[in-house]
Amino acid sequence: MTAVVVEGLRKAYGSRDVLLGIDFAVTEGEIFALLGPNGAGKTTTLEILEGFRGRDEGRVEVLGMDPRSSAVAHELRERVGIVLQDTAVEPYLSVRETIARDAGYYRAPRDVDGVIELVGLREKRRAKVKDLSGGQKRRLDLALGVVGNPSLLFLDEPTTGFDPSARRSAWELVRDLRDSGTTIVLTTHYMDEVQALADSVTVIADGRIVDSGTPATLGGRDKAFARIRFELPPGTGVLDLPLPTAPPVVDGMVHLEVREPTAVLHSLTGWALERGTTLGRLTVERPSLEDVYLEITRSFETGEAAQSQQSQQSAAVRGRRRKRSRT
């Protein structure tokens, strides 16, 4: 079953089009990553799904319900957990009090101490929120997102500001939630996070979906050429290599691109062993998720930069009415 359905979704702020008709679906029980450059429309999409914003056109279903219908608003809030980009909690309550307060709002909440344990704030449970570090506050946010035991969880850049070990444990937590049946919709700027967590990925740029797949297949990554690089052994020339054509050599490194590296590697390493030499600094690489992501969004990044410059100017003219970009 699908947890989220989006079809032909369009949204404009005044005369500025933010979403130009996007379609995607989130399968129940998966971790779905929504990626895109700043200003691409990620947060707008998320806020429409969360019910904070209306849409101009298109069909949106969240757990089978329309997030803008007031008749189902309460039920959706019971079943959807939201971790927003900004931390916003009462500074003078303790960690445990903050979680217990929100737990009281739900029909069937998780156990408060269990949630504290889950996000790794046990030592800090009596600390006041104002005395927490940025990463600890973010973990409190995560706790508030899951305390209602949601079947769908929205995570908007959940690990921004985490140190590496805190990120690993946050990933662990997100995976555990997925494994216990929670569907997760995630936005992030960290490609290693996407690689580690996401079951499926959709890339949005300039209000359109530009690619989608799994972390392994995005941008045709699985079909991309493998890149083999090694040092030309001393005393040999490129023409000595057991290859049909002479490959390029850059700074003494041989560069090869092949669709399937097994056979080529076999003959190259066999050749080196026969000669009693080695292939120094040998690497075999496929493009990383970050490589393909940058490739996919490159053309849009430049357009976006120009656009945001323009909007900054007009914002200055309007006189600082809105502080942040809403997209």
Binding site: F52, M65, H74, V80, V89, Y92, G104, R321
Partner: protein
């Protein structure tokens, strides 16, 4: 818009047993919310000190300046402090309910706390009930403190406690509604205190809170605004005067309804509106 799934079971169960269970749950949730709203307030030492220190300070200074037993026509046949104790109690309730609530709501909206709250199933009316209960409590403590200081200057205790309680409840509710209404109209937390004062400051002066007003035209106008009727209700409760209460309370309640209507129609939870 279409809803493709059936409505939630809780909303459609008509039987009475279920209804009372839901009612009890709601009541518990109201208590839960009041408790945490109180906890958030009392934990913040600055908020507590300034909320209660200001009215005490003002009534003490007024007592030092206008103290003395002699009654005068200037104070409508009362002594200076017999007049100022109720009016300053009224200003403190106004500040605690209208001013503080407008500022607190704008700040909570700006920091995103209201948006986060909106993501939980807590019904809006329960959230506002928690705030109203808080304002009512603060207003009652403020009145108690002002009465306490008043007795030090020889002001007798209120003659009608029930009238005082009625005026406090109605005043707190109306001023809270107006506070929520103003919070619905301001865009940012920075502009909230300015707008609050812009409305409150002249209103308090023309309503006779800081000096009695003897201009008939001004009194007629002020009588149609919410602060003067509240002053008069407290004055009547203190002195035991009767007869001229209900019309004023009606005016006060009407302003409260207006504030509530604006709040219901215009209140925003999101710091960045569409």
């Amino acid at each position: 818009m279409t809803v493709s799934s059936p409505a939630p079971a809780a909303a459609t169960a008509p039987d009475a047993a279920r209804g009372t269970a839901v009612g009890r749950g709601r009541l518990r949730l109201v208590a839960h919310q009041i408790r945490y709203e109180q906890l958030s307030f009392w934990r913040n030492p600055q908020a507590v000190i300034f909320t209660f220190l200001l009215p005490v300070l003002v009534v003490t200074v007024f007592g030092a300046v206008f103290g003395g037993d002699q009654k005068s026509d200037f104070y409508f046949g009362l002594s200076g402090m017999q007049y100022y104790t109720p009016t300053i109690a009224a200003v403190s309730v106004l500040g605690a309910c209208y001013g503080q609530l407008a500022i607190v709501l704008s700040t909570r909206r700006q920091t995103g706390m209201l948006k986060r709250l909106r993501a939980t199933p807590l019904p809006a009316w329960i959230y506002f009930t928690g705030l109203l209960a808080h304002c009512l409590l603060v207003g009652a403590i403020d009145i108690g403190l002002v009465i306490g200081v008043g007795t030090l200057y020889g002001v007798p205790l209120p003659a009608h406690w029930a009238g005082l309680a009625l005026a406090l409840v109605l005043g707190a509710a109306s001023f809270c509604a107006l506070g929520a209404g103003v919070a619905s109209l301001v865009r940012s937390a920075e502009s909230a205190p300015a707008l609050v004062q812009f409305i409150q400051f002249p209103l308090v002066f023309i309503s006779g809170s800081y000096f009695p007003v003897h201009a008939d035209a001004l009194n007629t106008i002020a009588g149609l605004l919410p602060v003067k009727p509240f002053n008069e209700a407290l004055l009547a409760a203190f002195t035991g005067a009767s007869g001229h209460g209900w019309r004023g309370l009606g005016v006060l309640a009407a302003w409260g309804v207006l504030g509530a209507v604006v709040a219901v129609r215009r209140f925003r939870w999101d710091p960045r509106p569409e």
